[in-house]
């Protein structure tokens, strides 16, 4: 609902080409209240508001200045940002909120060391300043210093351990560095926080699939299935493909002629329902693509893809034949 409202507002805005000041104000207010990130639009339509028509805003001016400043920094319009900051600074000298904007301005100008110093000073004044902590992590990330970002984020999470966004960020950082088991710990925290979110299960399963090995593949299979249990109807292709790939990988492992160790092979062959899940995945995918609006080329490619990942029967770990799991 709010998406359509936003689109309507945006259309009206473009139609008036920014001349309608009241509309601009309304738009900015809407963006503020719904925490939408549309920095280009906000800086374009907010600029005249804070410049020529500043007097008509009354007390709203200061909030709008802050909003336009951040949007300007986000769209790299440093001149506009500077104008906003100087106006705010003139009105509220020594304000911690203005200092935040000044630090962000430094970040936008790639003066990371200066910005970091400002944040550290903020933290000395108030050790619970989450804004400063998060910005420091972002700076570390911008400088591609992932180890430092991870360290800072861990320090943040030691105190604010129920911040789900932070766990997601940490998981992302770990994945970027290939530290998958650490990432899966973070994902588990996320699962605990939102156990009804089926997408989390799919992502977790994908992570486990990437980690590889019989145990992880087993877990992946379970989590894909559970995700489909939670949400069997809409947008399920990702999970079905995941199941397809996982069952195929398990079958490969179970096949002694594929080069897997004996231990892995026998563990994999103990996996239950592999062939059945594989078949189910293939059926569902075929059905989904048939009914979908996918292009004809895509629909034509599907059977070949599916056949590449087909598992007719789980191979016995003792047998030497490899005809049961077709490989690519």
């Amino acid at each position: 609902m709010s998406a359509t409202n936003f689109e309507l507002l945006r259309a009206r805005l473009e139609a008036s080409s920014g001349k309608d000041i009241k509309l601009n104000r309304e738009f900015l207010k809407y963006v503020r209240e719904h925490h939408i990130r549309e920095s280009t639009l906000v800086s374009i339509y907010g600029a005249p508001l804070v410049d020529k028509y500043a007097s008509s805003l009354g007390d709203e001016l200061w909030v709008v200045l802050e909003q336009v400043c951040i949007a300007a920094l986000d769209s790299q319009d440093l001149k506009l940002a500077d104008m906003c900051i100087s106006k705010l600074d003139a009105k509220f000298p020594n304000s911690s909120r203005v200092r935040r904007l000044q630090a962000l301005r430094m970040e936008a100008a790639v003066r990371y060391d200066d910005a970091d110093l400002v944040y550290q000073r903020m933290l000395l004044d108030d050790p619970t300043n989450t804004f400063a902590m998060k910005r420091r992590i972002t700076i570390a990330r911008e400088r591609r210093d992932l180890t430092r970002a991870v360290q800072l984020l861990n320090e943040y999470l030691t105190v604010f351990m129920s911040d789900t966004e932070a766990w997601l960020e940490l998981a992302d950082l770990y994945i970027q560095q290939g530290m998958y088991s650490n990432a899966s710990f973070c994902f588990e925290e996320l699962l605990l926080a939102s156990p009804q979110n089926c997408h989390l299960y799919v992502k977790y399963a994908e992570l486990r699939f990437t980690m590889g090995g019989v145990e992880n593949l087993e877990l992946a299979k379970k989590y894909y299935s559970f995700a489909l249990e939670l949400n069997p109807d809409k947008n399920t292709n990702r999970a079905w493909f995941g199941l397809l790939a996982t069952t195929h990988a398990l079958a490969l492992l179970a096949d002694p002629s594929s080069g897997a160790s004996k231990k892995a092979s026998s563990a994999a062959s103990e996996s239950k329902y592999v062939a059945e899940m594989n078949k189910l995945a293939r059926t569902q995918l075929t059905k989904n693509y048939e009914n979908s609006s996918a292009t004809t080329t895509l629909k034509e490619c599907l059977p070949k893809t599916l056949s590449d990942f087909t598992v007719d029967r789980m191979p016995d770990s003792g047998s030497s034949s490899s005809k049961d799991a077709k490989t690519r």
Partner: protein, 256 residues
């Protein structure tokens, strides 16, 4: 019952002045409070940490059955292991149960700064109320000032007709003291219009005498809370939700 006609001069020289004066005192007190200043509630890292620990353990207990066994055991140990578990450490850091003063001191609601400002606010309200009360009592007693539009029972006579000694008088005719009391609550509406809603919340808070915390901050967790969380987690049995998920899935889609 006879119908008394009240002198209109009572309205002019008693009722209206009381209302105006009360309004002015409220406004004055409000601005005085603004200038004395509100110390910002500085959040304490320890209390945030403590609250978050409990939030995390509660979340864990709620959704633990979605985790793999390995993850479950790892977290269980993390929280409750002897000497190094998170809950155990927190428990040991809390002051002992038989020291209520210490736990009072830790209570962020009783922080020195916020206490002072709350007492200051209450002080001003109390003083102004006492002054007005005394002034009205001295200057405007002994006569009827208002006829209330509704009837009351005999019991209210002593309260509402404080300076008047007429046992036969209808209880609807009240003294100026009760007009004052009526105004104390009644003026909040006009105050809201003039000063903004915040002033009214403040006034209501002072009247009720209870300091309402700004945030959702509850009592900082006591050693008891940690102990009970620990027990809950110890007792938590692992029963994986996903044990038979493949079967269920196959059944679900078997018919389709």
């Amino acid at each position: 019952m006879m119908e008394l006609v009240l002198d209109p001069r009572i309205r002019d020289y008693v009722l209206l002045p009381i209302v105006v004066l009360m309004l002015l005192t409220n406004i004055f007190r409000h601005y005085l409070m603004l200038y004395i200043g509100n110390p910002e509630k500085k959040s304490d890292i320890k209390s945030i940490y403590a609250a978050q620990v409990l939030m995390r353990t509660r979340r864990f207990r709620a959704a633990a059955q979605r985790l793999s066994e390995d993850a479950f055991q790892r977290r269980k140990t993390f929280f409750i292991q002897k000497d190094s578990g998170l809950l155990v450490q927190e428990q040991q850091q809390q002051p002992a149960q038989d020291n209520p003063m210490a736990s009072m001191a830790n209570n962020p609601l009783m922080d020195q700064g916020s206490m002072m400002s709350m007492m200051g606010k209450n002080f001003a309200t109390v003083i102004s109320n006492i002054l007005l009360f005394t002034w009205i009592d001295r200057s405007f007693s002994g006569f009827i000032s208002v006829k209330l539009p509704f009837g009351l029972t005999r019991g209210f006579k002593t309260m509402f007709q404080s300076g008047i000694d007429l046992p036969a008088l209808d209880v609807s005719y009240v003294s100026s003291m009760s007009w004052y009391i009526l105004n104390v609550t009644g003026l909040q509406g006009i105050q809201a219009l003039i000063l903004g809603q915040a002033a009214v919340d403040d006034a209501a808070m002072q009247m009720s005498g209870m300091p309402m915390p700004q945030q959702q901050a509850q009592q900082p967790p006591s050693a008891k809370m940690y102990a009970s969380e620990k027990e809950f987690i110890e007792l938590l049995q692992y029963k994986w939700d996903m044990k038979n998920t493949e079967e269920r899935l196959l059944q679900k889609f078997g018919g389709r």
